[in-house]
């Protein structure tokens, strides 16, 4: 059961640079650990994180084993138009999770925004977790 917690402002002014925080549960098994019998534990990590804004990619991160468990990423994007921000994580063993949040982008004399928390959406994963 992978949960994700994303923090996206629900409203922003056009042209404003907004900060997005993304946290997802995942062990990020490095592939360098061994069991007590010396058997290598295979790598199982999230490899790629992508943010699209109304379908256009605006940010990407390529993760390696040195990213801590339950990966946390904070990044920025320009609030260009109202619509949907989709954050997706993909990785080893077919891991694939996408979370979305909507944003209303208006003109400068808008009320201040409040961050919204998304509800978990689709998740697929091969094999036992």
């Amino acid at each position: 059961m992978a949960s994700a917690l994303i923090n996206v402002p629900s409203r922003a002014k056009r042209g404003e640079v907004i900060e997005i925080k993304a946290l997802i549960s995942h062990p990020m098994e490095t592939g360098y650990r061994r069991t007590q019998l010396g058997v290598r534990i295979p790598r199982d990590i999230i490899r790629v994180f992508v943010c699209t804004y109304n379908g256009t990619e605006v940010f990407r991160a390529e993760l390696h084993s040195a990213i801590a468990a339950n990966p946390f990423i904070v990044f920025s994007t320009v609030a260009t138009e109202s619509g949907t921000l989709a954050l997706s994580w993909t990785g080893d063993n077919g891991f694939s999770v996408t979370e979305s949040a909507t944003i209303i982008v208006g003109d400068p004399d808008m009320a201040p925004h409040t961050p919204q928390r998304s509800e978990p959406s689709r998740e697929t994963r091969d094999g036992p977790r």
């Binding site: 801590a68 946390f72 904070v74």
Partner: protein, 258 residues
């Protein structure tokens, strides 16, 4: 990863004297105060605190109907945000049927077996940690307030005796580090006062959320004492003593600790 054994303590020069008094109430400090600025920031920000992932999962479990009774926690208890306020701060609490105090994990499992007619959740399982974290999160900011009366007093005394008893290969008692030497360091890390102010919590060492019992077992292993299994009455008695020792300190669940 290097494994530091608590035998290193033998060379750390900790003086074994007759026990000093318990920490004066005004001097009690949460493990939060011993952490670096960045780790504290991780705990303070709900959008960055990894423990919140478990709280989220716990919220989903709270509302899920299950068991032969087809019942969700919410069906009896309603909205946890309102109705679970203060519950974690009062656990372990006395259970008349079992004639002993139960911790929050035990209490949740009693509800599962008796009310939901579902099998109990395994200790340290993701589901039990998530539910416990969700319930305990509703007591965040509230003072710890376990009830000590004629029914719970014997268990408090047993827990206290364990805390002060020299045991194991190092002939150490919990009190020697946590009452007498909490200003010092052990293998480079600060010795805290050992107040359970944020359980279940996300421990960086575990890269996972875990219970107070898991943490106690870590310490007991480090002290080179024969360990107690999860759920053992000795651990619950120790939990009761530690919560009483931390009475009126604020609960921080889900805390983050190194």
């Amino acid at each position: 990863m290097k494994r530091w054994v608590c035998a290193a303590v033998g060379t750390a020069g900790i003086v074994a004297t007759a026990f000093a008094a318990e920490i004066p109430r005004a001097e009690r400090r949460s493990g939060y105060d011993f952490m670096g600025r960045e780790t504290r920031a991780m705990q303070d920000d709900d959008t960055a605190n990894p423990g919140m992932l478990w709280v989220l999962e716990g919220e989903a479990l709270w509302n899920r109907k299950l068991g032969a009774a087809g019942r969700a926690c919410a069906d009896c208890h309603g909205d946890a945000r309102a109705n679970m306020k203060g519950v974690a701060a009062r656990h372990p609490s006395f259970d008349a049927v079992r004639a002993r105090p139960l911790g929050l994990e035990e209490r949740i499992n009693v509800c599962r077996t008796d009310r939901q007619q579902a099998p109990p959740l395994a200790y340290e399982s993701r589901e039990l940690l998530a539910l416990t974290a969700y319930v305990a999160r509703q007591s965040r900011g509230l003072p710890i307030d376990v009830t000590i009366d004629e029914r719970t007093q014997p268990f408090l005394d047993a827990g206290r005796a364990t805390f002060f008893r020299r045991q194991g290969q190092l002939n150490f008692a919990c009190a020697q580090c946590h009452d007498d030497n909490w200003k010092e360091k052990l293998a480079g890390a600060p010795i805290t006062q050992a107040h359970p102010t944020g359980y279940p919590l996300y421990r960086l060492e575990w890269q996972n959320v875990g219970s107070l019992q898991r943490r106690l077992r870590n310490c007991i292993t480090g002290m080179r004492v024969d360990n107690y299994p999860l759920g053992a009455p000795e651990l619950v008695d120790l939990e009761l003593y530690l919560m009483w020792r931390a009475r009126d300190m604020k609960l921080e669940t889900p805390a983050v600790r190194p």
